[in-house]
């Protein structure tokens, strides 16, 4: 028999423990032979949803239930079934599993902790504890350990092995669990499955599972679900029809494009920044979705709303890392910045990011503005001086930043500990505590010297910050994580922050005695937004010293929240120069790559410059990244999912609808939009589309980018359904009335396609432009999105040539990309491994099987000769084939491929 397991599948624990335990009694020879199955996730041919572990029996039958596999091992070893065991296993399947999978999902996939995890299983744990203590037995079904213990232990182990999730007060459960965990088969199973990584070893598997349903409601996903159509009132329908009929005339005139974009009194002025990417790293997909791409969607949306919009970004260029990189590549820091700035700019251009300006922080404006803010802070008494003990390398004549020192770890004695952290024991280190410190550049021994540094007196500014937050936060669109991080910093109390560093590559500190120092990047990097604007227009202060008229949206990943939510606002408030402060701080969670993190050094993950070489168009990347945008919780990039979403959502849903709508106009109506006579059903559809469009607006106004994308897909699904139900391709061949109906359906469909092209513009600008060119959508309708659905392609409008928008992604193509970008993780990708469980077959057994084959062969021949009932013959033939297969296995031959008709 063959046991199929998969990396991190929780069901493997009880199964391996049961196999190990039964082995002693049943004389089973278990050989572990982990060979991969070439990506076959679905082992059981008749199950739609992949299931592991699975035991394939010699008869060809499959056991796909974890409990049934364990039961089988126990039965083989002579165990007899009993009511109490059955009861425990039924309880495990119906009560424990749902609660437990929810808890594991929260813990492993969503990173929740404590009561958030324990809450869902507490009742089940208490039930086990009570049962154990009431029956006064050490094991679930009696005095000896048995099937029920193994199955429940295996299910609970991943969670309970962490003492935090094994409540102290449940003492009976506690001792039962400990007893089992120390048994050899259980221990071995635990080591094999969890690999000493604890519960996180389940991550690769659990991540791929749908979120278990829980009473607390479902998580946000973009998966299509059964869409329940809202009930519409007559008024809503009537309003939608009126808006539709007004058509193009209701569009306002297009705002003239300004250069440079400057705030206009009386208009909504939207200033959008994306966190400045650090220059010496090529950004990976996570960086791209975290700030520039998210901000781009909002900027494009903002322009579609005719809001006066300025979107800016640039590279953050100063700091230690640039100096190091320059040393590595034998260039000056300036040359490094020049080189990488271009790489960044190229990547964003390829991704179609619509910056109004993409600047850099190494400019005279940066020095001017930073020094000005510093001087203002200094004269107002918000800057402190203090002495710091620091390592200085005499030979290099400079103070060493943490990452320039190496030495022996003061905690564990590891020889190559870094100045900030030991790689071996993981403890944080204060560089001056390192034993035998060495300068990483020249290898000489640095000395401890005291040096002066400047500190921003945050405690003194705390009150102003709180006042400002009190005014800003209510009613704003700060993301929950940004609010949380900011609040927790304030709760812990602000401390003075050092704003200078012993470096050369930075903004000089304009103060006597600090000639050798520069500003620390986190003090001046956020000032980069101001200097980049100043390089774009000399009227930059109209944006940055104009809080009354400017709405500032700042996009970033959550690690950047403290600098934008605390430090910069403090600097700006302390400088007392009427600075524009962030109105909406939009922070994402993290994007993971497949099962782990993006890592440049390990070559894992897709980086901006490589995306171009995949042959996958930029818009597809944009779509998928936005579809999985880590909005509210971490998410993961997955190649398989990319393929799936491209082929299902883009190709089959969106692309299919838009293409059909256009094709019907071309094929059946000579390329002219037909007359539309709306029936009540069509009017209802109009209202539904309008409702969804308004939802899209509500979501994007709140910068819920990922959720708004769903509205687009929903409208397209409505559209597909509408075409499907009304079958214009049939009606066009029918009576006059039928032909008119085909015309109305086609006309309405193509107008929905036109609407979708505009809604899609922030997400997929190139595809949007392609659709608009195909439909010849009039220019104002391309660039303005109202809250109503208008007829923008009236009867008689001539469309252009329609062609397919998306290409199917093939498995091979994606698999080879996965290989290319997988790095070290490809090896650990959770393909089911096979453990061969071979029963020893002696010559006697082989002889016995041969006899049986002969006997069965005769039975079949006889039946056929008698022309017996077909089903009966088939049954006997099946038995014969089974026997032959068993024989082949016993003789060590590969089983013959099944002959005959292929099953559908």
């Amino acid at each position: 028999m063959r046991l199929f397991v998969s990396e991190g599948a929780p069901g493997c624990l009880p199964v391996l423990a049961a196999a190990g335990r039964a082995r002693g009694r049943a004389e089973l020879l278990i050989t572990c032979n982990p060979s991969t199955l070439g990506g076959r996730d679905c082992v059981v041919p008749f199950l739609t949803r992949p299931k592991v572990p699975v035991l394939q029996l010699d008869s060809g039958n499959y056991l796909f239930s974890t409990s049934a596999i364990c039961r089988y091992f126990f039965l083989l070893s002579g165990w007899e079934q009993d009511d109490l065991t059955n009861q425990w296993l039924e309880w495990e399947a119906t009560e424990l599993q749902p609660a437990l999978s929810a808890a594991l999902y929260y813990l492993v996939v969503q990173g929740k902790k404590g009561e958030d995890v324990l809450g869902s299983v507490r009742r089940a744990l208490t039930y086990i504890d009570h049962s154990l203590s009431r029956q006064n037995c050490p094991f679930l079904a009696g005095e000896t350990e048995s099937l029920a213990d193994i199955v429940l232990w295996g299910a609970l182990y991943p969670l309970l092995q962490d003492p935090a999730y094994l409540p102290e007060e449940l003492s009976a459960l506690h001792s039962w669990f400990q007893t089992l965990s120390t048994q050899e088969p259980c221990q071995r199973a635990a080591e094999t499955v969890l690999k000493q990584q604890g519960v996180l070893a389940l991550r690769p598997y659990l991540q791929k599972q749908p979120q278990p349903s829980s009473p607390e409601g479902r998580a946000v996903t973009n998966e299509p679900e059964e869409e329940e159509l809202a009930t519409l009132s007559e008024e809503e329908i009537a309003m939608a029809v009126t808006a539709w009929e007004n058509g193009l005339e209701s569009l306002p005139p297009l705002r003239p494009q300004q250069n440079p974009v400057l705030p206009v009194t009386g208009e909504r002025n939207v200033l959008i920044t994306s966190a400045l990417p650090y220059v010496n790293n090529v950004p990976h997909l996570g960086n791209i979705i975290g700030c520039v791409l998210s901000a781009d969607v909002f900027a494009r949306y903002s322009r579609l709303r005719q809001w006066n919009t300025l979107y800016l970004c640039g590279t953050d260029e100063y700091g230690t890392a640039t100096e190091t990189k320059a040393m590595e590549e034998g260039l000056t820091p300036q040359e490094i910045c020049d080189k990488y700035h271009i790489i960044h700019a190229d990547i964003y251009r390829w991704f179609n990011i619509s910056f109004d300006t993409f600047g850099r922080t190494t400019t005279p404006q940066q020095t001017k503005i930073t020094q000005d803010i510093f001087q203002r802070l200094l004269t107002r008494g918000f800057v402190l001086q203090d002495t710091v003990e620091q390592l200085r390398c005499e030979r290099c004549a400079r103070f060493l930043a943490d990452r320039f020192v190496e030495g022996v770890c003061p905690f564990c004695g590891y020889e190559e500990a870094r100045g900030d952290q030991c790689d071996k024991c993981g403890k944080l280190i204060n560089a001056v505590e390192l034993k035998k410190p060495q300068c990483k550049v020249c290898r000489s021994c640095p000395v401890v010297q005291s040096t002066h540094h400047l500190f921003l007196d945050l405690p003194k500014l705390e009150k102003r910050l709180e006042e400002w937050l009190g005014r800003t936060l209510p009613g704003s669109d700060w993301t929950p994580n940004a609010r949380f991080i900011t609040r927790s910093w304030l709760r812990d109390g602000l401390k003075p922050r050092c704003i200078t560093r012993d470096l050369k590559w930075g903004t000089p500190v304009p103060l006597e005695g600090f000639e050798d120092k520069v500003f620390y990047v986190w003090f001046d990097a956020t000032i980069g937004y101001l200097s980049i604007t100043a390089n774009y227009t000399d009227q930059w202060e109209r944006w940055w010293k104009n809080p009354e008229q400017v709405d500032l949206y700042q996009f970033m990943a959550k690690d950047n929240v403290p600098f934008h939510g605390i430090v910069f606002p403090c600097s700006a408030l302390g400088a007392e120069d009427n600075y524009t402060l962030v109105s909406h701080l939009i922070a994402t969670e993290y994007l993971n790559y497949e099962d782990g993190k993006f890592s440049k050094s390990r070559g894992v993950g897709v980086f901006g410059d490589m995306a171009q070489d995949t042959g996958i168009p930029a818009d597809i990347w944009r779509f998928y990244l936005l579809y999985i945008r880590p909005e509210g919780q971490d998410s993961a990039f997955s190649w398989t999912d990319l393929l799936l979403k491209n082929n299902s959502e883009l190709l089959n849903n969106l692309g299919n609808f838009i293409n059909r709508a256009g094709m019907f106009v071309s094929k059946f109506f000579g390329g002219y939009v037909p007359e539309m006579v709306l029936t009540p059903d069509d009017q209802r559809l109009l209202a539904h589309v309008t409702l969804e469009l308004q939802r899209y607006h509500q979501l994007l106004e709140k910068v819920r980018i990922r959720d708004a994308l769903r509205s687009i897909l929903t409208i397209s699904r409505h559209g597909n359904q509408y075409i499907q139900v009304n079958e214009p391709w049939k009606r066009i061949k029918g009576s006059e009335a039928d032909r008119q109906r085909a015309g109305t359906v086609t006309g309405l469909a193509v107008n929905i396609a036109a609407l979708l092209s505009v809604m899609l513009q922030p997400y997929m600008p190139t595809v949007s432009a392609t659709i608009q060119a195909q439909l010849q959508l009039p220019p104002p309708a391309c660039s303005i999105l109202l809250t109503n659905f208008l007829c923008t392609l009236p009867a008689g409008h001539q469309i252009g040539t329609v062609s397919p928008l998306f290409q199917k992604l093939e498995n091979d193509q994606i698999e080879s990309l996965r290989q290319r970008f997988g790095g070290g993780q490809a090896k650990t990708s959770p393909k089911p491994a096979v453990i061969e469980t071979v029963t020893t077959a002696g010559p006697q057994q082989i002889q016995a099987l041969m006899d049986e084959v002969t006997k069965q062969g005769n039975i079949v021949r006889e039946l056929k000769a008698q022309k017996a009932d077909k089903n009966q013959v088939a049954a006997e033939v099946a038995k014969l084939l089974d026997l032959k297969k068993q024989l082949a296995v016993a003789e060590g031959k590969p089983p013959e491929a099944p002959k005959g008709k292929k099953k559908k």
Binding site: S65, A68, N86
Partner: protein, 149 residues
């Protein structure tokens, strides 16, 4: 069909004369059987297996280790999959899977009629109308008629 009614029906078909009384417990209305000579039993498949033994028809639980495991597997399938899902999509997938599984089989274990067939039949009963409407789950159909006869 409520679990208690289902178990009473099973009692009759097993030829058990004395009808048991069942209570229901929890959100899922899990059936509970209070036995005379021991602790109560909880859970549909647990009680069903108990009744089979009471009626001396152990063969309905399978005769080999393999059959026994398969019977229990499908009993578990009944209470977790068939009872657990109610969306149209889930049911469709479930029927498709079963149909594909049964394509080369007479009963769930292959050639022998077991408790798994009975409880799956009961469990699928509520979908029968839609099966007739869609009309192509022929094998499930066949299984149902075999079970009935």
């Amino acid at each position: 069909m409520a679990a208690a009614a289902e178990l009473s029906l099973l009692e009759k078909s097993l030829g058990l004369s004395k009808g048991n009384k069942y209570s229901a417990q929890g959100e899922r209305q899990t059936p509970v059987l209070q036995t005379n000579n021991g602790p109560s039993l909880t859970g549909l498949t647990t009680i069903a297996a108990h009744l089979v033994k009471q009626a001396n028809k152990e063969y309905l639980l399978g005769s080999t280790a393999e059959e026994k495991a398969i019977v229990q597997q499908w009993l578990e399938y009944r209470v977790t999959q068939i009872d657990g899902h109610s969306s149209k999509n889930d049911i469709h997938t479930l029927l498709k899977d079963l149909n594909s599984y049964l394509e080369d089989k007479v009963y769930l274990t292959g050639y022998n009629f077991t408790l798994a067939d009975i409880l799956l039949y009961y469990g699928l009963h509520r979908f029968i109308v839609s099966i007739i409407v869609t009309g192509f789950f022929s094998v499930v159909f066949r299984m149902i008629f075999k079970t009935l006869s």
